[in-house]
């Protein structure tokens, strides 16, 4: 069973729809007790970095999240802003991130002249084998919408790379903790594959 955290940052309907479509049981997690009993967790998110961190603190779930990620080590997947939250922080805001993976979210370089947000379909490559890219036999493409991009300290933590004016880490991992910048729930069969890989962990 996968728990999808509903903390008021963006819609979780699409994620639940996709899990239903691929035949994976998933439920909404919107209180402390359901978070404490979660076996696998999706941390979604759309919106502003500081607002999301404030929500997590206000709802009193920060400690439980750390417990799940760092002590119990259940598989966790951050999606979009959810991925940025598991870094140390973002240039978008002032608040400290969850800091589960040594990485930062930074603005795209202005000099590129490309439109921001990075919105649309883009390809990803996997620098090395990882559990989420199992079964990708061609270069997969995913749907992105974001104005800040994540860069890891340790190249080993980078599981997907994407290029948009600059090469950034579109997927990160450290042990049981994963993050993807794109929206697998909106990325046709590529996203379905990635989410079923997560479900199979």
């Amino acid at each position: 069973m996968i728990s999808v955290l509903d903390y008021g940052m963006g819609n979780i309907g699409s994620i639940l729809n996709m899990f239903k479509w691929i035949g994976v049981e998933a439920k909404v997690c919107n209180d402390l007790s359901s978070l404490e009993s979660a076996e696998k967790l999706i941390l979604p998110g759309v919106g502003a970095f500081d607002h999301a961190m404030s929500r997590i603190i206000e709802l009193g779930i920060l400690e439980a999240l750390n417990q799940k990620a760092l002590i119990e080590e259940i598989p966790i997947l951050g999606i979009c802003l959810g991925m940025q939250l598991i870094t140390r922080g973002s240039e978008e805001g002032k608040k400290k991130g969850l800091s589960w993976i040594p990485a930062d979210a930074k603005s795209f370089p202005k000099s590129s002249g490309l439109k921001i947000p990075h919105m649309g379909w883009n390809t990803v490559t996997s620098p090395h084998k990882n559990p989420l890219s199992v079964g990708f036999d061609e270069q997969p493409r995913f749907y992105f919408v974001h104005s800040y991009a994540v860069f890891c300290d340790d190249p080993e933590s980078s599981i997907f790379k994407t290029s948009y004016g600059v090469d950034f880490d579109s997927g990160i991992q450290k042990g049981n903790i994963f993050g993807v910048q794109f929206h697998p729930e909106k990325s046709h069969r590529y996203g379905a594959k990635l989410l079923s890989n997560f479900a199979n962990l």
Binding site: G13, W21, K115, G120, Y143
Partner: protein
Amino acid sequence: MNILRPRVIPSLLLHDEALVKTVRFGKFRYVGDPANTCRIFNELEVDELVLLDILASRERREPNYSLLRDISSECFMPLAYGGGITSVEMAEQVLKIGFEKVIVNTAALQNTDLISDISKKVGSQSLIVAIDVKKSWLGKERCRGLSGRWNSGMEPIEWAQYVQSEGAGEILLTSIEREGTWEGFDQHLVSRVVDAVSIPVIAHGGAGSMDDVSLAIKAAGASAVALGSMVVFQKKDMGVLVNFPETEQLEKALA
């Protein structure tokens, strides 16, 4: 430096619970069942889907949430919905169902605070402002609401700049004179709006061939195109056939 492949977006028109296709916003022709057609586009792995309830504003109806729910439960690409959205709450409701973007036109022309209200709440990436343009008999271009029936008196370039400043994330720009005609996009209109704003402009209305798609992107500078007749009919004046250009065709047209 690398530029994204421009998005090619089927735009589907809802009329009651059926899909229709129009010519210059009139002459409704039945195309098929909405959920079924969307399912086919999902199988064709289209980049994105735009769904417009074309009479909702005129009939003062709220979005048909249960139909949108049916569609979002079987479509795994970005989805945008427009028609009858007059408040932040309605916009939020549509997004909650699993749509990524809401589209407003008439209500934004009537209530100029609506764009910033929605944008502040849901983010500009989730807000498209549709601009339907028609020339008056004096040749002046004006933005129209209520499915083309109401002349707002607003000039398209000024309005495009205003909606950008209020927080619109994209503009869906439709030429009413071209819509459903297969005669090509209004290149002149598209390029002037593209030059006037920095947000993505989706060209809509009149596409009849991949050459038209290519021109809108490469010559006029649109970030995306929306296709109506081309993706629901075999050819002009021929039968219904839900279709989408092959990847090779798209790459050739957009390269």
